[in-house]
């Protein structure tokens, strides 16, 4: 089993300030959203993740438990942890068009004279405002 190539290869960014546990959770969700992980795929065994990343086994356990709690994966006793649900679903189909829209917006921002950092700052602050409004509504 360990000789098979895993469906997802975890990595840790020690400078990110994000806890290792959260990084594992986010990497699985990211792969689910972009369709790299599909229903029925088996996540790497905990032993495998532990020895590749030199990471505390409890951290991996916690990350998998969190994903299970959110209904994204299920652990089958004696077999491993499997993807239950993809996050891509119907929205994946519209990614291409949305990406085109974003590219167009980026081109406009560049044409208006914004540099990379200003573009990122504008996007993030707009995104946050947008979310705050959703919360209040």
């Amino acid at each position: 089993m360990d000789t098979e190539k895993p469906v997802i290869e975890f990595y840790l960014d020690q400078r990110s300030g994000v806890s290792p546990y959260m990084q594992l959770v986010q990497q699985v969700k990211h792969a689910l959203r972009l369709g790299y992980l599909k229903e029925g795929d088996q996540l790497p065994t905990m032993r495998m993740v532990v020895s590749r990343l030199a990471i505390n086994p409890n951290t991996v356990f916690k990350a998998y438990r969190e994903l299970e709690y959110e209904g994204l994966v299920e652990s089958r006793p004696g077999q491993g942890t499997f993807v239950r649900k993809t996050l891509a679903d119907a929205s994946l189909a519209s990614h291409g068009e949305l990406r085109q829209g974003l590219i167009k917006w980026l081109q406009e921002a560049e044409a208006a004279g914004l540099d990379e950092e200003s573009i990122a700052a504008l996007f993030v602050s707009t995104f946050q405002q947008f979310h705050k409004r959703e919360e209040i509504a």
């Binding site: 840790l12 020690q14 951290t59």
Partner: protein, 301 residues
């Protein structure tokens, strides 16, 4: 409940100087605990007290429910110990070291030792003095693991290794933890590695315990606050400010929470484990025990 390590008012004094004082903490079984603190903070003293190598001046210490000083023949077979100097006989081959280990330890697991050394491609016929620093550390760790210990105590085992050797050492260590039944207590200056390796943290400074807590609750109870400097006093009334960086108008605070932050003027951010450790290490004096994290308060009561 039996703890892997339990110290109560533990202290060690040399003449007038306290190497460790008022040390009260509990380390539950099955945890991987990092022990950090500046040089001379008492880390090695605590580890040696736990091993029964030193007699406490005050208080008591128990390892796996046993007082180590009085019961060394019972407790030592259950503890694996790796000192920074990695005590190997330099003229012995790796194989000879294993034979020594087998003769000295009743529960010696030769298969485990041979398998791990083979995985690490460490030649059994080479004398240990000719191994690289990383390989010596690995042999010392494998020797400690082959005792099949319930508790592993490591005193800065990787301080002078290069990054790759360090990583490989940690891989062997975490792999052993994943097999279950092991509590680890290790002292280290490499705090950037700790959030990957430990789930429990003990911070010593000024010869006292500043923190002895589960990493998860440590992260939950420590936050970074960014906001107007003139409102700092109201934060200080409720929470403990561990670190402050202020400009004329803005303050950036690392605090230990004592309830929620209600004032919307403050932006609350996550603090990394490294930030939290650095803040505690930089404290000039011991924070009074009463404002310590509640896990340790429970220990005190």
């Amino acid at each position: 409940m039996i703890q892997a390590l339990e110290a109560t008012n533990l202290g060690k004094r040399y003449g007038k100087d306290w190497a460790l004082r008022d040390c009260t903490l509990k380390l539950p079984i099955g945890r991987v605990a990092g022990l950090v603190g500046p040089n001379g903070a008492g880390k090695t003293t605590l580890l040696h007290l736990a091993m029964g190598l030193l007699e406490p001046s005050t208080g008591s210490v128990q390892v796996l429910g046993i007082a180590p000083r009085q019961n060394s023949s019972t407790i030592l077979p259950r503890i694996g110990f790796v000192a920074q100097e990695r005590p190997l006989y330099r003229t012995f081959s790796v194989k000879d070291m294993l034979t020594v280990g087998q003769k000295l330890n009743p529960h010696w697991d030769m298969d485990l030792a041979l398998e791990r050394l083979a995985n690490l491609s460490i030649p059994l016929n080479r004398t240990t003095g000719k191994l690289s620093g990383g390989q010596q550390a690995q042999v010392a760790l494998v020797m400690a693991l082959a005792k099949r210990p319930e508790m592993l105590i490591l005193d800065e085992p990787i301080a002078n290794l290069d990054p790759l050797a360090r990583y490989e050492f940690q891989q062997t260590l975490m792999d052993a933890v994943a097999q279950g039944g092991l509590t680890v207590l290790f002292s280290s200056h490499l705090i950037a590695d700790l959030d990957r390796i430990c789930d429990y943290l003990i911070i010593l400074s000024a010869s006292r315990v500043q923190v002895a807590s589960d990493v998860e609750s440590l992260l939950k109870t420590h936050k970074r606050l960014i906001g107007p400097r003139e409102r700092k006093a109201s934060v200080a009334r409720t929470h403990a400010i561990l670190q402050e960086r202020s400009s004329e108008r803005q303050s950036n605070l690392l605090i230990r929470l004592n309830g929620p932050v209600l004032d919307p003027a403050w932006e609350v951010q996550e603090a990394s484990l490294e930030d939290i450790i650095l803040a505690y290490l930089a404290l000039k004096s011991a924070v009074p025990f009463s404002v310590q994290h509640k896990d340790t308060q429970e220990v005190a009561s």
